[in-house]
Every structure is written in C-alpha cells, then in structure tokens.
Symmetry: C2
Amino acid sequence: MPPPPRRATIRDVAREAGVSRGTVSRVLNGERYVSDQAREAIERAMKVVGYVPNTAARNLALRRSRAVGFVVHEPHALFLEDPNIGAILLGANTVLSEADHQMVTIVVDSDRDNERVARYLGGGFVDGAVMVSARQRDPMLQALQAMSLPTALVGRPPAGVEVPWVGIDNRGAARAVTEQLVRSGRERVGIIAVGLDRDSGADRLQGFRDALGPSFDEGLVVERPLYEYAAGRDAMQELLVREPALDGVFATSDAVAAGALEALLAAGRSVPGDVSLVGFDDSTWARRCQPALTTVRQPARELGERAAALVLDLLAGKDVTADPAGTLLPTDVVVRDSS
Amino acid sequence: MPPPPRRATIRDVAREAGVSRGTVSRVLNGERYVSDQAREAIERAMKVVGYVPNTAARNLALRRSRAVGFVVHEPHALFLEDPNIGAILLGANTVLSEADHQMVTIVVDSDRDNERVARYLGGGFVDGAVMVSARQRDPMLQALQAMSLPTALVGRPPAGVEVPWVGIDNRGAARAVTEQLVRSGRERVGIIAVGLDRDSGADRLQGFRDALGPSFDEGLVVERPLYEYAAGRDAMQELLVREPALDGVFATSDAVAAGALEALLAAGRSVPGDVSLVGFDDSTWARRCQPALTTVRQPARELGERAAALVLDLLAGKDVTADPAGTLLPTDVVVRDSS
C-alpha cells in the first residue's frame, strides 16, 4: 500500500522557519533559551505547513490518551431504533467532555468486530471504557477485564463479573407497570418478553411474575430476541391466538408495544377498551401512539452520565468499589391512555 | 491526579516468565534465536499478567492508527432523532470494518467540543475521517483541512472547500416530490424549509421553487432551524394562519411532516382530502404516520459506505479527485397515502 498523504513534520517546520529541528523541539516542549524572533518564526511556520503536534505520541509517553471508549454491543439495526442508547451516549459524552476527555463511540456487531475492537481498546488509544448492553458471557467484557482497562457498565454485569456499574431496577419497574394492569381489573394478562439473554429482559419478566402472583400463566409469555416493532406485532398475533380473551399486555419496550398496538387494532380489539397495553422506555413511540402508551420512564441520560463519572473516578485512582458494586437509578411509571 | 490502574508491561511478562526483557521483546517482534521453551513461557506469562501489546505505540512508528473518525456535527437532540445518521454510520462502519479499520464516532456539539475534537483528530489517533452535516464556514471542516487529514464528506462541502464527497441531489429530489403535489392539482402549496445554513436545506427549497415555477409564493415559505417534530407542528400552524386555503405542503423531513400532520388534523383539515402532505427521508415516521407519508427515500447506508471507501482510497494514496469532486447518489419518490 502506498503511503498516505504526508502529515507535516518538525522537519518541515524547521525548514520553513529557517531554524534547526532542535530549536523547533525546544519551542514545542516549552523550553527556555529560544529567542522571541525564532519562536515567532516557528509559530508562523507551523501555521504555513499545517503542523499539528502529535498528541498521541506525547500521551503515549504519559500512558494517557485522554480518550474514553463508549462501546455499544448491539445488532446494527437496533442501534438505529433503540431510544435509550442515544440518550446514554449523550449523557456520557457531556460528562467526559466537561472533564476534557474525548469520547469515541465504537459499535460492536460481529465476531470480527469483537477481535478488532479488543485490539483497539487494549492498544493504548483509550484510557477507559463505558460499555452498554453487555450480555451473559460477553466476549468483549471478558476482553476488557483481561486487559485491566478501567471500565464501567450501563446495566448489571453478568454473574461473577466484578465491575462497577449503574442501571435501573428493571424488576421493580416491570412489577410497577404491570400492577397498573392488575389494578384496573385486568385478569388475562400476557407479556411480550424480549432479550432474555440480558439482565434487563430477564428482570422485566421476573417483575411481571411478581405483579401477577398466582394468576401468572406461563402460556401467556411470548418471547422474542430483539426489541423491534415487527417483533411486537408478530408476538401480539401469537398471544391473541393463544388466548382470545386476553385483556392486558405488558410489551417490554415501547417499540414492541407500538407493534403490538398495530396487531391489536388490526384484530378488531380496542385499546384500552378490550385490551390494556403498557410499554417500557417512554420513548417517542409512547407519545406518538394512538392511544399514547402507559410506560416506564428510565433516566437514560443520567445512566450515561453516571457511568462516565465512574470511569473518570477509576482513572483518578479513586476507590469506587461498593457493596453492591452497582447503583440503581429510580424509574417512574407514566400513565397515559393505553391502560 | 494519582496514576490509573497500571497496565501490564513487558517487565511484568519477563518477571513472570523468568526471562530477560530483551527476550520478551524479541518474541514480540517475531525475531528468531529464541528457544521454543522460552517462547512458550513468555506466551503463557502474557496471558497470566494480562499483557496486551501497545498497538498505539507500534502504529505510531508507522504513522498509522488503523482508525478512522466518524465525525457527526449535530446538536445532540437531533443526533437522537435523525433517521439518516444512524444508517450512514452503519454503512461507514461496515466498509471500514471489512478493511480492518476501527471506526470511532465522535459527536461535535459545542464550541468546546470543536477544539478538543480537532486536537484529537490531529493528534495521531486516527488516520482519516468521514464527516457528516458540515455547515457553511464549519470550524471543524477548516481544522480538518488545515491538518491535511484524509477526509471525505457526506453532503456537498461549502463553496470553495475542496474535499471529496458523496451526497444526494437534494434539489432534484425536492423538485420531484413537489411535482407530486402539483400533478394532483394542488394550487396553494407551502413549504416548511429547514436548515438553510446547509446545502441540503437550501437545495430542497430551491427544488421546491423549481417545481412550482411562477406559482411559487415567498409568503408560503416558513423557515425553521432544525429538523424536529415540534418545529413541523409549529410551522404548520403558522402556514395555516398565513394561508387558510393552503392545499399542499412539502415538509422537508418526515419528522417535520409528522409534526405538520398533527397540526393539520388538530386544525380540522383532512389529509390528503383538504391538504396533501409530502415529506423527505423515508424514515419510520413516514411509515407509521396515519396516513402514511409520500416521501423521498435517500440511500443513507450507501452514503456512509461510499464516504468510507473514499477515505480508504485516500489512505491508499489513490487519486480520488474528479470533476466534479463529488458523487450524487440517486433517490426515489415513494408515493403513499398522504398525497
């Protein structure tokens, strides 16, 4: 491969300024014993040749890049639709920016990505990482731990992995929103359960069980792998086949609930007349659906802020271990017209 | 600030393996004259102490990071809602991933971000950059040019800036979708024009003028700064005040059109009975609106793929200059129920 377009070097600056390379180095390093005249000539020359000091080289000597990775482990299509990831990302970016750290976002999709991303994260380009959507036995999480990169998770880590984290009480929130259905007198209540390979998905199903108690019916649990509109539509059709007398549904994300709503209306059911429907996330889906969705608001932006702050604490050598190692942020049930 | 948790070094590997640091170096550099026994001990030791070779250091010697920045210059809120940026990002990521380059996404929001991001991009952390949403007199674009970082744009660059780019024919696409309105007999047609400080926004307004010809009415142009649902709703209310007999609207994004639809229905207008409405983007908004929106489909994913390929070409030293320097990808008008 031929070389890329050449970046200006100290040599170029020295030639343009008519001084030695040593003099340029002394100016760059802020040393004394350089005449004002030479200093001005060098500063002028840097602009002319477009010289930018190589921060990576300097930071390398200090073992610091002042960059933090934001690692999103999501199938690509979901990265586009997930209403929380963007807000988590922006929250983390704000906190890191205020601490003058550059956040770089990295999407991990395929196994091939896994290897390359691990090489990158371990290669000195970043000082630490925020990771979202870790799965059980996540190879990226294992890689991060093996290289001792200061890392914080959004969401509870898999069992046995000790890493600081911040998340929400998915189980409690799911119980609270399901209780909305129970309190309004609904008796045949189903769930569209998604992402059971992650803490969030499994906990939401558990919270649903908690709320229903003895009236929980395994037959009214339909599982889907991804939080997608189409998954909600299809799963709702399946639920209606299993139980035509269904009168309540907990769709475990708003996008899934929006799909379920389409299926309910297409099947001639009124919402909330015949069937009450509740979602999760309080995303734009919830507000734009007709009827607007009862749902759970999660503090996505604050999750990102807190996880970034944890990484900065780790980088500052602070002790962030606690018992438990994670922090749960509160959620709210937002009651609208669908229940 | 105390030092961050220490990364394992060659010294740790040497101690664990019971060999000299020079021997470890020789193994890492793939040199001969190392016994199989020592080599195996060293490989075992690397695993034990969690040693990861410092790629940044090695790449620095080669002046290559094998990383490419994906720079999004958007207000944060828009980054969450823009349906195209995610697809452009994923397209670029796929192409860079296949070429074994790590894409790192960087959001530029404030002026403070500008400075830090310029430092990062010029600091040797990335070999090149894809930039989206450049504005007129964009300080980030100027910084990228000053440092001669191989860069490709998504969208046409501001006048006078020579940089390879890939985009869509916003003017032609806007003309085509507006002609839908004219052909169906609409006579009092307004536009919600957004982002006129960017090529896309200004070109869409120009295409709208092209389609209307002499019946273009400056009084039916309402401007807003950002492509937002709320902006569409408010601008639509303003248009109806200006011209109660309005019978056609070009909302220059689907999110804006969705907001406009809410305002039209709230004002007692039927769509498309009283007022025909067309959007732009073919995002989920277009498909979920009732009625579904007539709109323009843009090849967002391919825009990202092509821009990433341009950067790889630049890095490979290929001549990508052409006349014109940019490539326009085709768009389609998608006719649905709103017009």
